[in-house]
C-alpha cells in the first residue's frame, strides 16, 4: 500500500450485487510508482535524443 493512502479508504469494498463481484478501492504499490516514474523519465530522454536521425 502506498504511504499516502489511508487504510480505511484503500480497504473500502464496492459490491456489485447483480454480478456478485466485490472490488477493493485499493492503492498503487510503491514498486509500480517507481516503474511509472522511471518510464516517464526514459520517455522524455528518448523523445529528445531520437526525434531526428
Amino acid at each position: 500500500m502506498s504511504g499516502d493512502e489511508r487504510p480505511s479508504e484503500a480497504e473500502h469494498i464496492e459490491h456489485y450485487q447483480s454480478a456478485d463481484i466485490d472490488e477493493r478501492h485499493g492503492s498503487v504499490p510503491r514498486w509500480l510508482m517507481v516503474v511509472y516514474i522511471a518510464l516517464g523519465i526514459w520517455m522524455i530522454y528518448y523523445l529528445v535524443q531520437y526525434w531526428r536521425p
Binding site: I13, E14, Y16, Q17, S18, A19, D20, I21, D22, E23, R24, H25, G26, S27, V28, P29, L32, V35, Y36, L39, W42, M43, Y46, L47, Y50, W51, R52, P53
Partner: protein, 465 residues
C-alpha cells in the same frame, strides 16, 4: 430505482439461448482457425504440402488463419460473453434482446462468407482487414448493433456504479465501430504509398490494442474475482490501466515500420508509446495477481481460474516482448523473423484466446444448468494447451533470435532458412498438441450442454468452474 436481482435470479437476466449459441459457435471457430494454422505450419516443413490446389495455398490460407482467430474464435466468444456480462453488471436484461438472435446469424453468416471469399482469392489486401467490402458491411452492422445494445443497457442499468469490465467493453466496441469502418471502407481506397502503410500500422494496432486487448481485459476483470472468490485487488489500478492503455496504444502502429521511409520522429513516438505500454500491462498484472493472493487454492478447483492465470502470465511475457522489440536495436535483429510471430501468438492465443476460454468454462455450465461434462477432458485441455503453447512460444522466440543474429552477422539468407528447419518442425508438433487440446476442450463444452449432469439444487454453483 427497482431492486437489484438476488443471486438465484442472476442468471435470469441473461438470454441463455443466445449466449450458449454464441459460445458454442465460438467453440467451433476455436478449433477451426488454429487448425488452419497447423496446416500452414506443415507447409514450412513440406513446401509442396497442399500446394497444387490454389485455394489451399499459403497466400489463401494465411489470412483465413489470422481473420479466423481474430474475428471467428476471439470475437464470437467475446460477443457471447458480452451478452452474459453486460446484463449481470447492469442488473437489467440486454436492450433489444430480439436483435441478438438476428445478430448471431448475421455474424456467423458474415464470418463464413468472408472466410470462404478469402479461400477463393477475394482479399482486400489489408492485413487483419482482409474480408471483401460487401462482407464488411455485414460485419460493421453487427458491431454497430451490439454497441447500441451495450450503451442503452448501461444507460438503463440498476447498478449505481460502472464496473471496470463495462468501461473496457464500451470502449472496445465504440473504438472498433470506427476502426473497422476505417480499415475496410477508407484505407484500401485512399492514401496511396507510404502513407497507406503508416495508416495500416494504425489500423492493425487498433484491432489488437483497441479491440482484442480491451475486450479481453473486460473478460478477465469480470471472471477473475468470481473465480478467485475474492474482491478485485484495486479499483485505482483499474483506472490507471484503462486510461494509460487508451492514451498510449493509438500511437504504437508505426513500430511495424521502423527504418522505413515513414518520418523518423513518428517512428520514435511509436517506439516510446510501445515502451510506455509497460504501464498498463504491469498495472493490470499487479491487479490480477494481487486479487489471487491468499486464494491460490482456487487454481486446484477452477478451470476458469487456471486459464485466466496462465493467460495473465503469457500476457506479461508477450507484452514485454512486444514493447522491447519496438526498440531500434531489437528491430535490427528481430524484424522479418519468427520472433514477431512469437509475440503475436503469445498475445492473441496465449492471452486472449485463453481468457475467453476461461469465460466459457465459467458460463457454459451455469447457463446450461449442467455440471462440466468431464473433469478429465478439462484437465487434458489445460495441460495440452499449456505444454503445446509453451513449446511453440519458446521455439518461435529462439528461432527468431537465432535467424536475426545469423543475418546480422552476414549469413546467407538461404542458410538462415535451412537452420530454421528443426524449429519449424517443433512448432508443428506444438501446434498439433494445442489443437488436440482445443478439440477436447470444445467437445467437453458441447457435451456439457447436451448431456452434462444437472446441477444439484440448492447448491447452484457448478463444480470445477
Amino acid at each position: 430505482m427497482s431492486a437489484i436481482p438476488l443471486s438465484n435470479e442472476r442468471e435470469e437476466l441473461v438470454d441463455k439461448e443466445v449466449v450458449l449459441h454464441f459460445l458454442l459457435s465460438a467453440a467451433f471457430w476455436l478449433v477451426f482457425a488454429p487448425t488452419i494454422g497447423v496446416i500452414l505450419s506443415i507447409k514450412f516443413n513440406y513446401f509442396g504440402f497442399l500446394g497444387s490446389v490454389s485455394w489451399l495455398t499459403w497466400g489463401r490460407l494465411r489470412p483465413v488463419h489470422v481473420m479466423g482467430v481474430i474475428f471467428g474464435a476471439f470475437t464470437t466468444a467475446i460477443f457471447g460473453l458480452t451478452y452474459y456480462m453486460v446484463p449481470h453488471l447492469c442488473g437489467v436484461r440486454m436492450y433489444k434482446e430480439n436483435w441478438s438472435r438476428v445478430i448471431f446469424w448475421l455474424w456467423n453468416l458474415g464470418l463464413t462468407a468472408g472466410l470462404v471469399s478469402l479461400v477463393l482469392g477475394q482479399n482486400l489486401g489489408i492485413e487483419a482487414g482482409e474480408f471483401p467490402v460487401w462482407d464488411d458491411i455485414l460485419i460493421e452492422i453487427v458491431f454497430i448493433l451490439i454497441t447500441i445494445q451495450i450503451i442503452v443497457t448501461i444507460v438503463r442499468r440498476k447498478e449505481k456504479k460502472l464496473y471496470v469490465t463495462l468501461w473496457y467493453l464500451t470502449a472496445a466496441f465504440v473504438w472498433t465501430v470506427f476502426n473497422y469502418a476505417f480499415g475496410h471502407f477508407i484505407l484500401p481506397f485512399s492514401m496511396p504509398g507510404v502513407n497507406n502503410a503508416a495508416m495500416h500500422g494504425l489500423y492493425i494496432h487498433y484491432v489488437v490494442g483497441l479491440w482484442i486487448t480491451p475486450a479481453g481485459l473486460a473478460v478477465i476483470y469480470y471472471f477473475l474475482p468470481l473465480s478467485a472468490q475474492a474482491p478485485l485487488y484495486s479499483h485505482k489500478l483499474s483506472l490507471i490501466g484503462f486510461w494509460s492503455l487508451a492514451f498510449f496504444y493509438p500511437f504504437v502502429g508505426t513500430h511495424h515500420y521502423i527504418y522505413s521511409p515513414i518520418p523518423y520522429w513518428t517512428q520514435t513516438i511509436a517506439i516510446v508509446a510501445s515502451m510506455m505500454l509497460i504501464i498498463p500491462v504491469w498495472t493490470v498484472i499487479q491487479n490480477f495477481y494481487g486479487t489471487f493472493v491468499g486464494h491460490w487454492q482456487r487454481l486446484q478447483e477452477s478451470y476458469t481460474a487456471k486459464f485466466l492465470i496462465i493467460g495473465a502470465f503469457y500476457y506479461l511475457i508477450g507484452c514485454f516482448q512486444g514493447s522491447t522489440e519496438a526498440l531500434r536495436g531489437m528491430q535490427t535483429i528481430t524484424h522479418f523473423t519468427d520472433f514477431v510471430i512469437a509475440h503475436s501468438h503469445l498475445t492473441v492465443f496465449g492471452t486472449f484466446i485463453l481468457w475467453v476460454t476461461a469465460g466459457m468454462y465459467y458460463v457454459i455450465p451455469r447457463l446450461s444448468g449442467r455440471e462440466l461434462y468431464s473433469k478429465s477432458l478439462a484437465q487434458w485441455h489445460w495441460w495440452l494447451t499449456v505444454a503445446g503453447f509453451s513449446l511453440m512460444a519458446s521455439t518461435l522466440v529462439m528461432q527468431g533470435l537465432m535467424q536475426g543474429t545469423m543475418l546480422e552477422q552476414g549469413a546467407d539468407f538461404v542458410n538462415s532458412m535451412v537452420a530454421m528447419k528443426p524449429y519449424w518442425f517443433t512448432r508443428t508438433i506444438a501446434g498439433v498438441t494445442m489443437d488436440v487440446g482445443a478439440v477436447l476442450g470444445m467437445w467437453n463444452f458441447l457435451q456439457t450442454v447436451l448431456q452434462g449432469e444437472p446441477i444439484a439444487t440448492p447448491a447452484l454453483e457448478p463444480r470445477w468452474t
